[in-house]
């Protein structure tokens, strides 16, 4: 037996198959034991795969005459039946487990297309009008359903059928409905596919579980003959025999046109000789065996049906109707819709959250900006105040003292011009005025000298200063003062213990001033150009401190005036920072100078004599 080879079927399916198989074997053994006894072991096995649309036992009984006849008339072979539903029959052909195939016309054209089956005979049933007009479908309703008279009455009704790909059990009716302009999937309310046996469809109609059922033509007539049902309980919907003269002679109720009856086909496992032998035997099979075969019918009408329905071999033509999809997949669609809705709700919620958080973030950023602005405001205020205090300090001495000679000089000069204009300019007046102007100019010069002395007077303290430490404290100080101080990098190549003798607070003032200038120079530049480098090294026994910025630098002309009092490049500068720094450094016996940095910016350097370099 091949069932052991079957791949994939579920355990339940295998058990069912096994049970049917045992039963079948028993039945065959009882009825045809002589044949089997004769068969012995020498004969070659030929498997006939049969579509068992009424269940396997029924199929076994139905097709028993076939195997018996072939076993009797084709010597050297032992024919036996294998029963399948449509899918498993297909698998069996694919796996070359069957040699002959008996199936319905629809299934046949599908398999013909897929596996290259070729029919060798068509069943010649007693009711067939001709080999290609042997079978059709009947739509049955309960005879008490007077509301159902034509196919048009099926709108919104429930239909029972065997399977979506069942030929007589579904597709013929779908095509017929289509021919009458009715799309089955969208017109019907529900379609129940009940599977094999076909009797399930009849039962569903009888119980009212379906309004209408699709069965193979003559199915209910044959069932009635077997006493399984009462024919008068059912009515065939849209019986064509009244309207179509070509089928008037058909003995059974018929909703659809007639199609060729079941074929028997050979698969590629079978040789030409055996095909011919079987065909000859089948054509010779007498009617009294209960089954007759005739020459292979034309299955074009079946192809036409599939093409029209765009199913089977023509499934690729199927164009999916929205209504049909809706009906078939509504639970999935509902789930999908719910998922989409949930997703939508989630999206909206997330969006809302994002917006809220963004707003919160913005608010906090605004608050931070405001705080920064406040700090900056305070800082500017403080700087302003410190400037004012310098100004206050200066205005008492410097500003007033510069103003006085300036005013005096101005008075003399303008008076001279007036007298000259009036023609009353005496020589004595010129001499008087000019000598006054001269002495006043001298006086203004004295004021500037006093500014320089200002720093000198204070530089009384001299103590060892650790320059790297001082630079570090100045850096921390300025970072504390400014909200967004750029990076200040200190590179020291000083030998350990290198010190200078100085007034630490004054040197710190110098460092702060130079750092502040360097920061101002880089203020509006990209961050990478704001970094300030402070380099400490010893050159010729002098400690050199360099402050290097990467700003825009200064022209040579401006550099020449850098250390002059009141010269400034800043809109709000006093122009006293660098002169004071210079006097401080010089008071320490050092030198302060500026040069352009390569590639950009300025380098301010000051050198101080080293106090001690411990070796």
């Amino acid at each position: 037996m091949r069932f052991g080879d079957e791949r994939g079927p579920s355990a339940w399916f295998a058990w069912r198959r096994l049970a049917y198989c045992l039963l079948l074997s028993l039945g065959l053994a009882l009825r045809f034991s002589p044949t089997y006894a004769e068969a012995g072991g020498a004969r070659q096995d030929v498997a006939i795969g049969v579509l068992a649309y009424q269940g396997e036992l029924a199929a076994a009984l139905d097709w028993a005459p076939l195997t018996r006849f072939l076993n009797d008339h084709v010597p050297g072979y032992r024919f036996h039946l294998e029963h399948f539903d449509a899918d498993s029959l297909r698998e069996a052909i694919r796996d070359r487990h069957v040699d002959l195939v008996v199936t319905n016309p629809g299934h046949y054209v599908v398999l013909e297309n897929e596996f290259g089956l070729s029919r060798i005979a068509t069943l010649d049933s007693p009711q067939a009008l001709s080999p290609d007009r042997g079978t059709g479908s009947a739509l049955i309703v309960r005879s008490d359903r007077s509301d159902l008279q034509t196919l048009g009455d099926l709108r919104g009704k429930r239909l029972a059928a065997m399977a979506p790909d069942a030929f007589g059990g579904y597709l013929l009716v779908v095509r017929e409905m289509l021919a009458q302009g009715i799309d089955a999937e969208s017109t019907l309310k529900e379609i129940h596919f009940l599977g094999v046996p076909m009797m399930r469809t009849v039962t569903a109609v009888q119980r009212g579980e379906a309004d209408v059922g699709v069965v193979r033509s003559c199915f209910i007539e044959q069932a009635a003959a077997r006493g399984v049902l009462r024919l008068e309980d059912f009515r065939v919907l849209g019986d064509r025999r009244g309207s179509d003269a070509g089928v008037a002679a058909f003995p059974c109720g018929l909703t659809t046109p007639l199609y060729p009856d079941w074929p028997i086909a050979v698969t590629r496992t079978i040789g030409h000789g055996l095909s011919k032998q079987v065909a000859q035997a089948l054509l010779a099979m007498p009617a009294d065996t209960g089954m007759a075969w005739t020459v292979p019918a034309d299955y074009q009408s079946v192809h036409a049906l599939y093409r029209e329905l765009r199913t089977g071999p023509y499934a690729h033509l199927r164009d999916i109707t929205l209504a049909g999809l809706l009906r078939r997949f509504w639970p999935a669609l509902l789930v999908l819709a719910l998922v989409l809705a949930a997703w939508g709700v989630q999206t909206v919620r997330v969006e809302h959250l994002v917006q809220r958080r963004t707003a919160e973030l913005r608010a906090s950023l605004r608050a931070r900006d405001a705080a920064e602005a406040r700090v900056r405001g305070h800082q500017e205020q403080m700087e302003h105040l410190s400037r004012l205090s310098i100004l206050g300090e200066l205005s008492g001495s410097l500003a007033h003292e510069i103003n006085q000679p300036l005013t005096t000089i101005g008075n003399y000069a303008r008076s001279l011009l007036r007298r000259h204009a009036d023609g009353r300019l005496s020589e004595a007046a010129v001499v008087e005025a000019c000598s006054e102007i001269d002495s006043e100019a001298e006086r203004a010069g004295d004021v500037m000298r006093r500014i320089r002395d200002f720093a000198r007077k204070r530089s009384a303290v001299r103590e060892p200063v650790d320059m790297p430490k001082l630079v570090d404290s100045a850096r921390k100080l300025i970072e504390g003062m400014l909200l967004q101080a750029p990076p200040i990098v200190c590179e020291s190549s000083l030998p350990p213990g290198c010190e200078v003798l100085a007034d630490a607070s004054q040197l710190q003032q110098v460092l702060l001033n130079l750092m502040k200038n360097a920061i101002d120079a880089g203020r509006d530049l990209p961050p990478e150009r704001q970094t300030i480098v402070i380099r400490l090294e010893v050159v010729d026994k002098r400690l050199v401190v360099q402050l290097i910025d990467q700003g825009c630098g200064l022209s040579a002309e401006r550099q020449a005036h850098l250390f002059e009092p009141f010269f400034t490049t800043k809109p709000d500068g006093l122009g006293l920072g660098l002169p004071i720094c210079k006097t401080i450094v010089e008071a320490h016996g050092g030198r302060l100078w500026a040069q352009s940095n390569v590639p950009s910016g300025m380098c301010f350097s000051f050198s101080l004599p080293c106090h001690a370099v411990s070796d």
Binding site: H400, T408, I409, N411, R443
Partner: protein, 213 residues
């Protein structure tokens, strides 16, 4: 009175002698007599106990001076009633002081370094103001002097005449005869040097603006 005039005088008070001299040089260009003082104290010494300038003048006064400041000097002069106009000279940083100085009605201020024309204009305006003021004071004193020569009775009569009362009513009010009133009236006109009741009234008002209320 044409300006500048020889009878006027400009006082310059500044602790900076060079600046003082330059101002004199400037003012003399326009013909102003100038006197220089290097401190507020020396200026006070100079004016002694004068309660009023003897001739049209003004002060060019430095706000910032070592001992007595310009503002303090202003205060002293005000207390004395020495009401010569004052031009304060201020430096750039003296603005708050200047504001205080400006609260004085007769004051102006000019900023160092000077615009020469501004100084000269301000001096001229101040001296003119001072001259007007002195003129007014002189006339008031003359009126008072004229009226001071009247006897008590004559003053009573003169007062009523100046108010425009007829002799008859004056006689009734003072309880004397109309004829007596007439005689007093003649004496008043003679002594005060006026010829009508209207002129007499004007004299009264010049001596004391509230005299006829």
């Amino acid at each position: 009175m044409p300006f500048p005039t020889e009878s006027a005088l400009v006082y310059v008070v500044d602790d900076d002698p060079a600046l003082c001299r330059s101002l004199r040089f400037l003012l003399e260009t326009e013909g102003w007599p100038v006197r220089l003082f290097e401190s507020a104290e020396s200026f006070l010494d100079e004016i002694g106990h004068q309660s009023r300038p003897v001739r049209p003048c003004c002060l060019l006064l430095d706000i910032r001076m070592p001992a007595m400041s310009g503002l303090e000097l202003q205060q002293v002069l005000r207390e004395r009633g020495f009401d010569a106009p004052i031009l304060f000279m201020t430096g750039h940083a003296d603005v708050p002081m200047a504001v205080q100085a400006m609260k004085c009605r007769a004051c102006d201020f000019i900023e160092k370094p000077f615009d020469d024309q501004a100084v000269l204009d301000a001096v001229a305006a101040a001296v003119r103001r001072c001259a007007d003021m002195l003129d007014e004071a002189h006339r008031r004193e003359a009126a008072r002097s004229a009226l001071s020569h009247l006897s008590l009775r004559e003053q009573e009569v003169a007062h009523l005449v100046a108010r425009g009362q007829p002799n008859k009513l004056i006689a009734a009010e003072l309880g004397i005869s109309e004829k007596t009133v007439h005689i007093h009236r003649q004496h008043v006109m003679e002594k005060a040097g006026v010829s009508s009741a209207v002129e007499l009234a004007r004299l009264f008002l010049r001596a004391d603006p509230g005299a006829l209320d």
